[in-house]
Symmetry: C3
Subunit: 440 residues, 3 copies
């Protein structure tokens, strides 16, 4: 070991990891249409439309009413502006590995060939299966709206996850209450009805195999224990679309969020907290490319939640890359706080490397939930995981093999824990105890 | 490529870059006297006086009333305390490369020799030209007060830039209004007069070849759309030196700033935002060495500005090194936000490397405005750019050549874009469209 | 030098540094019982109990009423969950280097053997001396409560340090005033009495060889000049346990803190500021494992303190790892602000490396106070310093030898300054001038 350079060790580690199955605990995959039938569905990923737009592409060049080939060709005109990015590298990896694209740049000249090669409309579900197998996918967690019927797919592969943003942040919108009534079968009129309805949602999701509840929260949200007494009036007003004072709106957010945490405790579901985004900061952006954050955020605001719900596992993602070090400290102390993946604006190798290094050095290995793809189409899962696996391989090669004298096998065992065994255990299902206390 | 170590690749890349011209989009050079005639002008750079003072040098050891040789000799007594810093390395590079200084330390024993070697008083402007040529300078942006007559130099080499701090932050000081009246020829008495006067400034600057408007803003400043109706009274009170309430002072800052952005839109000038400094935090410090920052700052406060002025390009620098990751996200989403250089307290290789890596990985290559020197004397430009070019070479060697298999030529093309082509395009002049939408 | 890889250079540098004496300017060592007589005292370090608890170990598994062998065996059951951490590596280094432990994992199977090997109860003080010598300890700073009698040990080896948290943060607790009266011999009844009593504490501590005053401060604390006029009533109320308004509590914290700084000036004592912790954020945690922080903190809040007490040296530690860059800037400008060590949640190689690199690049070398162990038992000092020395060696090898062409000897001189000479000078004793202005 003593004379092998870190770079070669990293390559070896990566090659081994690249053969492993992928357990992906957070995506936005549509289980009815998981892989892309047309390459426009790949290029339509907001990472590309927003980056192209950020270099000057007008929003209407990728308008939904355009036909897919035109939209893809339009976007391709801007790809040379972002071809040094890691996001672009995922795109190229998809083109090359899934579609045999022989070029090393996607340009207006080569886009036609790529669209043809990547045309899977005739293959249908067979293509989904092919991507699944080629990527060695084991489990893909979904992001299901609370009124998703959760029917029509294999929920042991595409695992339901109850997404709750609308309930917490948009309860005062008429559409939310209507959807909730329809989904729950409860005629929600007040606090008690709301609780009953949400309880029904949990029952249904768990019955259909959901293994997590998830929410994204703005930086100004600070959970506090809600008392029904204080919440009952604002919630009634929200349900009946009456005007709400700002403090009442805040009380509603807190009360519904707290209620969700209570149900996570009751149903033994991990509660994924995705902390930081502010929606629609740039309203003129492309769809999916309008949200940003305020970096002045702290997990200290979550202390009451973590203390109160000792039995609930909270896999936490933070959006502001500079907030990552704080998450290391909170996961170091709170048994129920687990650092999860590297999210969105923090999903960049430079940020991942620093953060991952700290997590590996300072945190119990059984608490590390390595990575999730956040993908909208199956094809993205492998390239994104490969990016992470490369960073993980480098960190392990440098810090753990070269730095501490571990063997390659020991390093791989640690990688396997982080990538596979921890996520499998923590997201093992509502019937099981998801806490990290489980013997491993 | 496969077997060349990153360190050697980095050296190759650096050597090539070191032969390129320098386009420096932000300095404090005095175009009437750009290079140093006496080494005291080099040693008087606040980086050295403040670092020496921070190790205990009394302020009066570098007092302006001392003669230059004494002042330089005084400072030299403290240089051994900072000779491990990167700031010191610029000094030594100047001494060695411009003045043939044969030693590797500047000490009380060698300072006399250095002062002699660096005495360019007899050479005058010829020395300016020599430094210009030896440094391969192509364009040096100035920092011009709004009442700078902008006369007496070649504005195609030393490019005017309208600095507007005083207008926004000191409008209520009698001197500001007097200067504004004198510079604009407008008898400013109220809001309308203020707008007319500022319009005249823009006209004059643009006519004289200005290619940017610039401002440094304290961390508590949050731009908001100003309405003349709300601003008219506070501005009149400020002009007439009447007492202002804090909210009126805030309204003035916002109104004048918004007005500047409107003129940037009208005159197609990029508006450099240098976010973070608080002036005079340490009043007992040396001149130029009294300012610091509060790291609790967010670009979220600038969202209305970025949204409203879609046609204005905002090259943004942040002072708090830990705020760098947020700028990556904002430049990723907003077409008109461009990350610019590595400023002041963030201009340290350790901070540059992490930040640059993230920018290169995550952002469209055509948006990266690599570096500026912030220099007060021409001699500093090359050493500072060399520092940056070394970091850039290392990042490209490791990430892009070793990590992603690019060729040396491809890496150099990217470096050229970042160092030269992007700044040339974005700061191409008021007559041109400075937005990054331009085809490249 | 030109062909030796950085990794080998780093190893050489480390091996040399590992032979140096250790000057440790901040620990929690009990001078009456500095080394561990039983390995349970090592395993009882909160780093292990809190990390084990964070993986699910119930708090009562390490309850104080258990016998040491049982407690140690209980904890050992959880060590496999944290055996990839750097904290664990200190543990293993202690077991192997001090006790000849022959295995490379501490497990339920090997814990018995380790307890036997590490049983030093019969050796008593001889063991303390052995650890002292084996670790090449030169000076170990203590953390003494203000009413510590400071008797019964060699204060030139175990150096007293006046810890003042209770005076500033808990003055309104009856126990604090009682202790203060007893320790000072002053019948404290009001502001004047408080000042007199605290003056006595300083006298006693300095007479007994104290070389620093220290305090840890929560992130919401902002020092302000206190006026006796404003503080006199709240302080009287606190002393007599009368109800205090929040603004009065704040006034007390500020007044007592300011008074301490005045005494530091009078007695020429450095005032260690340890900024950031919030106590008892996780009350259900193990002892010592309940504190966290809010990362939204800034040294800007300390500007009046640093300005007012120009003659007091402030060695500063920040708890939030992402606040480190700001400390670099403040130490760059303020003569009396010195960056000290890498504290607690920031004491992780990934964080140390980035921060240390910036400090070395940007700050005067004579201001760098390299490291302190924060240890509770002597055995931890060497492994923790070794961790730091490894990081320092890597940074010097990469940045300074490979990057700037320094010789190994020059790099070692810099390391020696940072590790030994600066701490010796700055913490040279109350009789000496502790400012960094001293000629070196």
């Amino acid at each position: 070991m003593n004379n092998i350079p870190a770079e070669r060790l990293a390559r070896e580690l990566f090659e081994e990891m690249a053969r492993w199955p992928i357990f992906d605990p957070h995506t936005h995959i549509d289980p009815h249409r998981p892989a892309a039938r047309h390459f426009d569905e790949i290029l339509g990923y907001h990472y590309y439309t927003e980056l192209a737009h950020a270099t000057g592409m007008p929003v209407d060049r990728v308008a939904p009413e355009l036909d897919p080939a035109t939209r893809a060709a339009n976007l391709a005109e801007y790809l040379d502006r972002i071809d040094s990015t890691v996001q672009y590298s995922w795109l190229l990896e998809i083109a090359q590995s899934f579609h045999g694209f022989p070029h090393d740049r996607i340009t207006p000249r080569t886009i036609g060939e790529l669209l043809e090669r990547a045309d899977r409309r005739h293959e249908g579900a067979a293509w989904d299966r092919q991507v699944w197998q080629a990527s060695r996918l084991e489990a893909v967690f979904l992001t299901n709206e609370f009124d998703d019927p959760l029917e029509g797919w294999d929920t042991s592969a595409y695992i339901p996850c109850l997404r709750t943003d609308d309930l917490v942040l948009k309860l005062d919108q008429p559409r939310t209450i209507e959807r909730l009534r329809a989904a729950s079968g409860v005629d929600v009129q007040d606090y008690a009805g709301l609780r009953a309805a949400i309880g029904r949602l949990f029952e249904r999701f768990v019955a259909r195999g959901a293994r997590a509840c998830a929410i994204s929260l703005p930086p100004d949200f600070a959970p506090h224990p809600a008392t029904p007494r204080r919440a009952v009036t604002p919630i009634r007003k929200a349900i009946h679309q009456m005007d709400l004072r700002p403090d009442e709106q805040e009380e509603i957010r807190r009360a519904v969020f707290w209620m969700l945490a209570e149900f996570c405790a009751e149903f033994h579901l991990p509660f994924d907290l995705m902390i930081g985004p502010i929606r629609n900061v740039y309203p003129a952006g492309v769809p999916g490319g309008r949200d940003l954050f305020d970096r002045r955020v702290s997990l200290y605001d979550y202390r009451e939640l973590f203390n109160h719900f000792a039995s609930v596992t909270f896999p936490v993602s933070t959006l502001a890359p500079d907030a990552a070090a704080e998450l290391v400290a909170y996961a170091w102390i709170f048994p129920n706080v687990l650092p999860m993946g590297h999210w969105w604006y923090a999903n960049v190798p430079a940020f991942i490397a620093g953060d991952l290094r700290a997590r590996l050095q300072a945190l119990p290995k059984i608490k590390l939930l390595g990575y999730y793809s956040d993908a909208y189409k199956l094809e993205f899962i492998a390239p994104k995981f490969n990016m992470y696996r490369r960073v993980l391989a480098e960190v392990l090669a440098e810090d753990v093999i070269r730095g501490r004298g571990w063997s390659v096998d020991q390093a791989l065992q640690l990688a396997r824990l982080v990538l596979l065994e921890n996520p499998r255990r923590v997201f093992g299902g509502a019937g099981r105890d998801a806490s990290p206390t489980l013997t491993i």
